[in-house]
Symmetry: D2
Subunit: 361 residues, 4 copies
């Protein structure tokens, strides 16, 4: 299989994850370019990963004929335009979560990619997380009988980049940033079951001084099948990253924890290089994990995308998934604002950004 | 301190817990009588715990002058009448959870005890669970800064006695049976904070063939202070009892698990006597716990009640707590039925039993 | 049962544990006196626990006619003389571990107590540790079939008081201080099985600047029955106290961990009052435990001793146990010094202190 | 890098691991042949993994000119001859553990490979186990300060194939079969530190009816540096595979558990496909792991070997490592037989198989 050549838009935390992930799966793809308006960062990323071409304007990168796939790690409000530009340049798109700011944007992104004959991938790595994939395999084997409840939780103490905290750039707070993971996971785990209703409880409990976005969210999703999904997300959980699921069925239950449940509980008087994403320190007791990117599923996700481009696999984690997640996010913000569950389908038009459904119900 | 003489109404699972708990705290109280209409059970309990007097009709037991405190472990629908009878007999009342079937009953129970000059205790052992008390101590020390989220979960695969499954006798399903624990816990942990609203998602996922009650419940409680409590309860969780909390604050987080987090993970080819409440077997891998009653807080609870009677302690876990919990349960059923959160105060009158607010909103 | 009146010799860490333990079991005994040559400490302990009589010289305390039991928490080298004095004063003895410095001392302590008609208790709380007692119950139920290996480990980063580090006062390092626990546990768990041989590997790895004693020890005990016990002890394990066992049998296995396996994993930015014995801090991630003294078994141990004095129980944890442990310790030091296992019986005479068998084999 | 073509000798459990591992790392190598005298097994393996060429006699496979590397998964007593044959056929050797039966064999294997100009790899996957590699990285970062104790434990309830249980074919029991892993690990973790002495305690506790080999072993290795390694291995541990390490240093400690510490604790009434190596069942509570082969390090190990052949990496896990491990195993059996530690170097000649040093000291 000829390697898929990749360009990355962005140069911060998520771009670094992408670059590192491609490096872990070098057979299917290679990153040949990075584009970022902040030149210093782009050069640093390029140096770190041996990326030969650096651009300031991503549209120049789109002109490179050999690049086949472009990943977007820029702020949420830019996902839409970038996707359109990438598609019109004849390249496949990997769009980071959340897909974009509005359902109209999502529709257009999907349509333009379709008409341009390129694939629109939604970078939801939880579909590839090895430990969670194992849970799904057991479920598919009937380990739990009929599943009635899936819980997914991703929490830390707040994102790295400034734009997350500005809801005009991000579209919302933690529900937008991390709830999308949990929502996607519950949906995917239950076989992309049809959604019946959404309820959410949101609040800004800890970071009110720096954001208008919610920093903790609880979201309950009812599925037509009768099952329930629960997304628990936070920017207000101290101590490092935490990512876990629980699956309940008539026949059983499983717990999968990517951090405290995978770690090497460690005490160090002196500290050491790196423990885990968002860990405040490596001194004292810590929960360092191993093969962090691999155990999140990032390299496997990128490999999958490249293999889809070569026709070797069928896309799992698509723009349609991303749009569905955005519909749930819309409904969740609305539910929180109105104090009642929102029945599906729920497609209000003319919403500037999802959080407006909460702050101005 | 002269021992408080106690009579127990009931002879099944919960009565056994009471008898065993008093036996673990023999200095403050002693069980001298048990009353149960099912004579065989009462005699068996009496034999097991050396209880000298056995009655078929509890009202006969109430005539015993030396008995000072009576515990009620009978079906929920009988709590009200029994409490009134006990109070009018001049004896203190320990009423098991949930307090009763309706807010009117609760009001009357509280008033009659008050006017009779007896104490009405609400048997919520989670206020005495050593591991949870430790969490509260750390919280009170400022370990977590301002707390914004408390989660409590109690789950197993369904109760022992038939009456639980008949909502006319129980008043509701798992929310009524176990949600009361979780709700009480969140309320108590946050310092008996004023409640703002309640939302719940309920369903009968696994046991529809044997009950009209919900067998899994998620309940979100908003407090006036801005904090949130989450009660997660189930009669549909296989594998033995599970009881756990999570506490999140601006300054930290703690996890306390009474079962998998306290157990001796054990593999046995042959099995052994007893692992844990509701465990299906003792063969293969199990999570046996130690000092089960003590680690739930039952003996400490009973000791507290006895010492209150002697004026040595101030009541913690009162009929007022039980009524507050019932208000939340009412609101939760209503919220589930209406699909919207219910603002406090919420005191609908003329409700026959709490689950009616869900099934017939 | 009339309360047994107790006097404590000592005023440091272990004396505090004793006083606190008696306070948790106030029905069987009460501490009425404390004796310590360091007057400040004794007064502080007395104030902390409401102990009415304070002595500088313990022999004056022995003159108090109402005191029935005296506990020794003084340095190891004083256990012998104190035991004799207590016994000759007609009082029962609770001697902290390790029993004493030499087998000759042990023999005399046992004999004098016997001839004086007083009980000699050996304060090995691991015989009462609730979680370990549960393991033994499962074993006795046949959960594991025939047991072939018992491992016990107690580790921290070094004791509080100076005298531990001076082998002339303590008799040895961590094997003496904590190996006695592990050795006693394996012996007791296997039903006080006859010992066949002992091997040990000792070293001073971390604290060579402050002690000649070993700070980490591995001790393998072969029993006549064919089973093996392993004692793993350390004064060189950072991060707080660690106490755990593993039990292996033909039919199964169990793991019981008193700390990381019982704790509330907690992150605190600010810290809180107390986490666990020897914990360096309460900030960052910690493993606070709950009901620490209770979960080690200290109150239960003291209650047992008091009840034995009243003839209500038969002594478990006696001077004979302590002497057996000392024989194993002798053999372990010798084995480490000679580099070969030592067959039982092994009773070298004229040894000034156990560690001499290692340092001057 | 041109793929290295590989032939596998053997068709049972270990051969399956090899084939599956190469399949997970398809870029560096591919398995093109399998040889096994038991034709049915070889065909089954070939079918399962798409291996095109099947041989009954491995020497015929050695005649295939395109094969560059041959892995040996045959019984221990055949490792020596096979290695010589493979080397003389000009192919690189991957020899499974333990290296062979005697030090003489080891010397000859190393020498013949050297003179033939082929690489002799020792298939010790623990050098590649991701979680353990993380521990080593932290150690190399100074997380633990100076390390004084490394413990490695691999345990299950007994191997698959009959020849393991026949010491004439295997050379010894669990110390030979699994102690080699633990010994290698401690040695490697401490930077291939020089060994000072070895002690071991061995016994046949559970499987005496089917083997003369030891089924549980404790082995203490003293290093010249002062550090200690402990290898704890068992064929008598029920409940599935267990693999774990502990690392202690002046500055800290870490615990890494590949099974209970990585698993998804799961209850299943019905069971599911596969939990973990040696798991007796998938019903009830189990500890299924994910990406089992990857998390043991098998694919990474094979990839490393292939890349070494291409000169892209320097061999880590060599025949010299295997011989050193065998020296320790010799010394351990001798120590167990003599009841004393054995000082290094220890190279007794004319030993037919390692266990003879124990059974006939």
């Amino acid at each position: 299989m000829a390697k898929v050549k990749v360009g990355i838009i962005g140069s911060r935390f998520e771009a670094d994850i992408h670059a590192a992930s491609f490096q872990l799966m070098p057979e299917e793809a290679e990153v040949v370019a990075v584009a970022s308006p902040t030149p210093g960062n782009a050069l640093a990323l390029a140096a770190r990963y041996g990326i030969p071409r650096v651009f300031k304007d991503y549209r120049e990168m789109l002109a490179e004929p050999d690049i086949e796939m472009v990943t977007i790690t820029a702020p949420n409000r830019l996902h839409h335009q970038m996707t359109l530009d990438i598609a019109r340049a004849g390249k496949h798109v990997v769009c980071e979560k959340p897909l974009c700011m509005t359902l109209e944007e999502a529709d257009e992104m999907i349509e333009v990619c379709r008409s341009q004959g390129v694939l629109l991938f939604y970078a939801e790595e939880l579909f590839f997380t090895p430990k969670y994939v194992k849970a799904k395999e057991m479920a598919d084997h009937g380990a739990f009988g009929k599943i009635y409840l899936v819980k997914q939780s991703e929490k830390h103490f707040g994102p790295h980049s400034d734009w997350f905290w500005d809801v005009n750039q991000s579209g919302g707070g933690v529900l937008m940033d991390m709830g999308c993971h949990s929502i996607a996971f519950c949906y995917w785990f239950l076989g992309r079951a049809a959604i019946k209703s959404v309820y959410a409880n949101l609040g800004t409990y800890v970071h009110a001084a720096k954001t208008k976005g919610e920093d903790d969210s609880l979201c309950i999703i009812e599925f037509e099948s009768g099952a329930v999904g629960m997304a628990e997300n936070s920017w207000a959980r101290r101590g490092g990253m935490d990512d876990r699921i629980e699956v309940y069925g008539e026949g059983g239950v499983t717990y999968a924890n990517l951090h405290m449940g995978n770690a090497l509980p460690t005490y160090s008087e002196y500290g050491y290089g790196y423990a885990v994403e968002k860990a405040p320190t490596t001194k004292g007791w810590t929960y360092p994990v191993f093969e962090e990117l691999w155990n999140y599923g990032f390299p496997q996700e990128m490999r999958h995308f490249a293999r889809c481009i070569r026709g070797l696999e069928t896309p799992d984690a698509t723009g349609e998934d991303g749009r569905l997640v955005l519909e749930v996010i819309y409904a969740a913000y609305a539910a929180a604002g109105l104090g009642r569950k929102i029945e599906f389908p729920y497609r209000p038009a003319g919403i500037a950004k999802p959080i407006d459904l909460w702050r101005k119900p």
